[in-house]
């Protein structure tokens, strides 16, 4: 947890599929890169970071505008712009070494072969402690297909798991399905070591002056405080329906901006909590959230954050 960690913070020590974290808070994919540590020295409160999603070939992303603020969050349609896995490994991965906290690489692809290539290359690096499989980006063609077709998902997870060299595989699920327990079960059957949810909800904003969609891609992914209750429900659903009995940890995320938001996800069944959109406004928000969680635990005489996981899942 960087410079601010002390023995007293052991109360926040967590584990995500075997990766030891000084705090249960994880920087969600697509928000900040290695430069984040220059803005917030020491990254207080941060347990791990997930990289921007990487694909096998470079992607130029969607037409602008790619982001728009709404009343209770933001819509984005970046379209997974990234330099491709080879350039990413050459140029970006070395910068992550300075962070001194676990790094998880997020990957996506159009074909199983794409995923296999990315996972093999990234999992072989010392800097990468695990892989998050993005099978649910709403902003790319076929992006949600792997995530919403249980048979395809199970097959994909099984194949990717086989080229990870034993490192943990986290599968990120889309909320844009009828019952999230179905893809959750498929991911676990395929060999996922953890699941993360939720990715963004489908959303759209229209400029009433021009009578046109604001985003260049027309539709985008909705994130921020507005999605938080949806995330709490879906984490609860996955925990009670599948994850609890299969002993699979959940990385819960969606609209977390305060300690209370994070606690809700933990109580719903999440082992770790992702922070995303809130970082745009408040880059050091994880410090505040971590402090709030620690205070809550001490006030209740809990010795560890792990003691409250799933307590509300009745």
């Amino acid at each position: 947890m960087g410079a601010m960690s002390t023995a007293a913070d052991n109360i926040l020590a967590s584990q995500l599929a075997g990766i030891r974290l000084a705090s249960p808070l994880v920087v969600a994919s697509g928000i900040f890169g290695p430069d984040y540590a220059e803005l917030v020295p020491g990254l207080p409160g941060v347990g791990a970071v997930i990289t921007k999603t990487i694909t096998r070939e470079p992607r130029s992303g969607n037409k602008e505008p790619r982001v728009v603020e709404t009343r209770a969050g933001i819509l984005n349609a970046i379209g997974l712009q990234n330099p491709g896995v080879h350039t990413f490994i050459a140029r970006e991965i070395p910068k992550y070494r300075r962070l001194d906290i676990p790094v998880i690489a997020s990957i996506a692809g159009n074909t199983i072969e794409d995923y296999r290539t990315c996972a093999t290359l990234l999992a072989s690096l010392d800097e990468v402690r695990g892989i998050e499989l993005n099978v649910s980006c709403p902003n790319v063609k076929n992006g949600v297909m792997f995530g919403s077709d249980a048979c395809m998902l199970e097959e994909l997870v099984g194949i990717v798991k086989g080229c990870m060299g034993g490192k943990p595989l986290i599968v990120k699920l889309t909320p844009n399905v009828t019952d999230i327990a179905v893809p959750a079960r498929a991911a676990i059957d395929g060999g996922a070591n953890a699941i993360s949810l939720i990715n963004t909800l489908h959303g759209m904003a229209i400029d009433v002056k021009t009578q046109r969609p604001i985003l260049g891609n027309r539709v985008g992914g909705y994130s921020g405080i507005g999605v938080h209750p949806v995330a709490v429900y879906l984490v609860h659903r996955c925990y009670t329906a599948v994850c609890r009995e299969r002993f699979i940890p959940i990385l819960g995320l969606g609209g977390v901006a305060t300690a209370e938001d994070a606690l809700e996800l933990l109580l719903a069944g999440a082992t770790c909590v992702g922070v995303g959109t809130a970082l745009f406004r408040t880059p050091n928000v994880c410090a505040t959230i971590a402090a709030g969680i620690a205070t809550y635990l001490r006030d209740r005489c809990e010795e560890s954050v792990t003691a409250i996981i799933g307590k509300a899942a009745v």
């Binding site: 803005l39 921007k52 602008e64 982001v67 603020e69 984005n76 970046i78 405080i225 959109t277 880059p283």
Partner: protein, 410 residues
């Protein structure tokens, strides 16, 4: 640099004396650690040797010393040769800045003044921006999800007299370009366009604004002798600080200020300390005189004002007036750089125009942003280079780009 001892001070003072004499100045030691360069008909340059830098002040008359900048000791050697530009650090920080003022200049246009901490000093370049949290939500209130980017409108330096910019030509070029100036205050001139800017108008003097900055690459001021600054509407705001930087390097500045109508010319006001007592009413002769005078004061070669509706200056688009002046041969064409900021259509027209006249041109782009530091890839633009087209980040790769690089059709 460790603190130089008395002997070292003496050595540095001798170096400065030698260099001053080579440039034709008479050099006079005024104290063990201070000396002056004097020459009839030129500004007097006064050096005071401090612990880690040399204070440089200018005197228009022998009794009025005005601070100009600081020369770090390790740049003394650069004075005699060609050297890289002095201020090239990029150090983006996230910190609360105290509001010195947030006043309406005319309906819909506000000037926000933020105090900069003395240590560690900021290194600001015109064209860079700050990513500001625009609202002050009460405890437990819901903040805006995103910050808003604001270009630097002007930078003030402690004790600095901007009128000296008109006489920058009297300073030796190498000295001019090697000085650091420690900014005391940064101003942003903004137009209320939506939720964020609306909430920003509520910020009061003495409060703090949570700022990430400075962000992005500022204008790379080259070695050109003439600069044409072309602004559309609120796009004039970042060109004000640029005009002062160019004048400090003794570049001849020609301004082309365009707007829909007279009210929208307000961002061209230069002084960072405008108060309501000097509230200019757009469209009045006083207003136009104010804008022209403020640029004349720093030694701008010319100020051309035009509005789409003719309510101020010439009627027509700023790019049309510039095109005519270029065609009629009223402007220098050698050693010229064009700097432009404004709406997309205006920038595209400027880029086409300078392409026809084979002039260098740098444009400052705007786009909806999220992170502001180059991580999220929300604020991209399409560029073209040797390797084909590429989406670059306005916040990190820009916001200033070479006009030739931009693919304007969306």
């Amino acid at each position: 640099m460790d603190r130089p001892g008395e002997q070292q001070h003496d050595g540095y003072a001798r170096e400065l004396e030698d260099y001053g004499q080579a440039l034709g100045y008479r050099c006079r030691r005024t104290a063990p650690d201070a000396l002056r360069w004097e020459r009839p008909g030129a500004l007097t340059v006064a050096f005071t040797l401090r612990n880690s830098f040399i204070d440089v002040a200018l005197a228009a008359t022998p009794d009025t010393l005005t601070p100009w900048g600081r020369l770090p000791y390790d740049r003394l050697a650069h004075l005699t040769g060609s050297a890289p530009p002095a201020c090239d650090a990029r150090d983006t920080r996230c910190l609360p800045l105290t509001v010195l003022g947030n006043t309406m200049l005319c309906p819909g246009h506000y000037l926000l003044r933020l105090q900069l901490p003395p240590e560690p000093a900021f290194c600001l370049q015109p064209g860079q921006f700050f990513h500001l949290a625009c609202d002050q939500p009460p405890d437990g209130g819901v903040p805006l999800a995103l910050r808003r980017p604001f270009s630097i409108h002007n930078i003030t330096y402690t004790g600095f007299d901007r009128a000296l910019l008109a006489r920058a030509g009297e300073l030796p070029a190498a000295l001019r370009d090697q000085l650091d100036r420690q900014p005391a205050e940064v101003t942003f001139l903004y137009k209320v366009v939506g939720r964020g800017t609306n909430l920003l108008t509520q910020v009061r003097t003495g409060q703090t604004v949570d700022a990430i900055g400075p962000c992005g690459n500022g204008f790379a001021v080259g070695t050109e002798r003439h600069a044409l600054l072309v602004a559309g509407g609120i796009g004039a705001a970042p060109l004000v600080a640029l005009a002062e930087l160019l004048r400090s390097r003794n570049v001849a500045v020609h301004l082309y200020l365009g707007a829909l109508k007279s009210e929208f010319l307000v961002p061209a006001l230069c002084r960072p300390d405008h108060t309501l007592t000097r509230h200019p009413v757009p469209g009045t002769p006083e207003f136009r005189r104010l804008i022209t005078e403020e640029f004349a004061e720093i030694g701008a070669a010319a100020v051309h004002i035009c509005t789409d509706d003719g309510s101020e200056g010439e009627k027509g688009f700023v790019t049309e007036v510039l095109a005519r002046h270029l065609t009629e041969g009223r402007l220098p064409t050698d050693d010229v750089c064009v700097y432009a900021c404004g709406p997309h259509g205006m920038l595209r027209a400027t880029a086409q125009l300078v392409g026809r006249h084979a002039l260098d041109c740098r444009v400052l782009l705007e786009e909806r942003m999220a992170c502001g530091i180059g991580a999220c890839y929300a604020c991209t633009c399409t560029t073209v280079g040797a390797a084909g087209t590429e989406k670059k980040r306005v916040c990190k790769d820009g916001p200033v780009f070479d006009a030739k690089e931009i693919v304007w059709e969306r």
